[in-house]
Amino acid sequence: MQKIKKRSLKWIFWLLVLAAAVLGAAAFALSVGSAGIPFGKVFRILFEGQKGIERSIIWDIRMPRLLLGFAIGGALSLAGVILQGMFRNPLVEPYTLGISGGAAVGVSLNILFGLHRIGVLTMPFSGFLGACLVILLLYGLNMKRRVLSLQGLLLTGVMINFIASSLIMLILALSRRESLQGIIFWIMGSLDEPNAFLTRLALGASVLFLVATYFFHSDLNALALGEEEALHLGVPVERTKRLLFLITSLLIGVSVAVSGMIGFVGLVVPHFMKKMVGCDHRILLAASFLAGGAFLVFCDTLARTVIAPMELPVGVITGILGGSLFVFVLMRDNGEGR
């Protein structure tokens, strides 16, 4: 009993720390920018009904970007945690399964054929369609005698990613200069989404899926021991695998369709959180979600301020910052172990 109480306290401590990190990142994101609004004024504007250009900058430009960053960061980290737990492979990340490749091909085709002129929503829609096609393909290819083969899923996923990147290369070779620009913009990934509906959708979907994964927290803990062990513990392994695969694929599909490819969040954040809070999925899921959200918001704010008024692709920051931080922590731990 004492042990359980201690553990709960530790979990609550981590949740509070991460919530503080999210708030800190949000405050940072809201208060810096090229418009040069003073720090104190930002919060006055945020809560008071003052009209004017500064209010518009904070509410219409910085806020949607902050919310989308939180949603996408959370979604990618959550997907990363689930996939790493399910495959019992620390190298799996949201983009390994080829779903992002499918989305990228969908969007590239859209741009090549000029469908995006019909309406702005066709872009994320075609991305999501591409993602769904890959999901169906993966599912169909690896479902044999009502058993979803995880090894097969991984291999076909990697292959689909290769095929997708070749297809994108082909599309790039065929397209005109303006289209080229559009495709490359999309592939680089950006959280600057002009459509408020898409921001809401991404945020709603990611939080909803977080809730949904909580129905599987104990199954995930059991699966971490191995499929056979989980079966002996009474986990309906096949059903769980299928549902988790669907949940993560949809999470990835939505995030990639809305914001393009933002690498590294889904790989590094779950690893970090495992080191910090431990491998129990009851806390790991929520912790990764919050940490991923805070991390991406922070990186995106850096990306848009480092070389202002120009912007860096956010993937540059997530890669450099996340990667080097991770290597640093890994080296330090190795040093301690010796």
Partner: protein
């Protein structure tokens, strides 16, 4: 304990989902800049194209330009104007903070940024890259309409057209040299019919050997087969001297024998306003009809 936590966390999340959909994602009405009427005179302009910036100065409304790209460096007065990005990446927040009533964009501008600016109620006008001399004039007139300088624009265009027809008449009677114009190396890129480079050559009494090519990509083989009298290298982001040396490796070419491989400054060619077009045309005329 375990059960209660498993219940509490999802409940907490549900509350969060509810909140997400209740969040106001837009500032209330009146917090936005009012949408100016079409045809209203624009006083604060952000120009995201070097050509348009230069043209605004030509029209005498340079002081209403409040934002530019890094590459808008002509005329010199532009260095006092705030930079809001480069050609493709622009900073929406910076633009909004400048309170523009007109933002001029090009097809290369980030589509998301264009959409965002429009959704904030800012007038955004896109100017496709002008293909030829006629396109340059049309685009110039359209821009002039937005700043109510139609008269000034018409005068400038009239002057440019007079100069163009003078040069055409003067050079029309001479023997037309065959010209190959190179604007990109590795792969070799040229300019075909319907581009202002093509117009520059034809108007100054030359023949563009790539006029009928379908694609701007050209091969060295074809250049050797057509054997032009003059090769003009407009170095845009590649080493023009190196290219010149490569061409000199083909002594069979007429242009090589006559020493007619000419490097030109890309600045002269790459800002297609009616004024700079005439300027470039005078330059090309000199190149094409220089006495040996």
């Amino acid at each position: 304990m375990r059960q209660s936590l498993a219940v509490k966390i999802p409940f907490f999340c549900f509350v969060m989902v509810l909140q997400v959909f209740c969040l106001p994602l837009k500032a209330e009405e009146g917090g936005q800049t009012p949408l100016p009427q079409k045809g209203a005179l624009s006083q604060r302009i952000v120009s995201l194209s070097p050509v348009l910036t230069e043209e605004l100065f030509l029209l005498g409304v340079g002081d209403s330009v409040v934002g530019r790209t890094r590459y808008c460096t002509k005329p010199a007065e532009t260095d006092k104007i705030e930079v809001v990005g480069n050609l493709t990446e622009i900073n929406v927040e910076k633009i909004v903070s400048l309170r523009p009533d007109l933002v001029l964009v090009i097809p290369l501008t980030d589509p998301r940024a264009k959409q965002k600016l429009r959704s904030l109620g800012i007038r955004v006008e896109e100017f496709p890259e002008a293909a030829d001399f006629r396109g340059i004039c049309d685009s110039f007139l359209r821009l002039a309409g937005m700043v109510h300088k139609e008269k000034a624009a018409a005068d400038l265009i009239e002057k440019a057209k007079r100069e163009v027809s003078r040069i055409r008449q003067e050079t029309g009677s001479r023997q037309p040299p065959a010209v190959f114009i190179e604007v990109g190396a590795d792969p070799l890129v040229t300019m075909v019919k319907g581009s202002y480079f093509h117009d520059l050559i034809e108007f100054s009494g030359g023949v563009n050997i790539a006029a009928e090519a379908v694609h701007q990509l050209y091969s060295r083989e074809k250049v050797l087969a057509k054997d032009p009298d003059i090769i003009i290298i407009v170095s845009m982001g590649f080493d023009g001297e190196e290219e010149k040396r490569i061409w000199q490796g083909y002594p069979g070419l007429k242009a090589v024998r006559q020493g007619k491989i000419i490097l030109v400054d890309s600045d002269l060619f790459c800002a297609p306003t009616p004024v700079s077009f005439v300027h470039a045309l005078q330059g090309v005329e000199k190149i094409l009809h220089a006495e040996n």
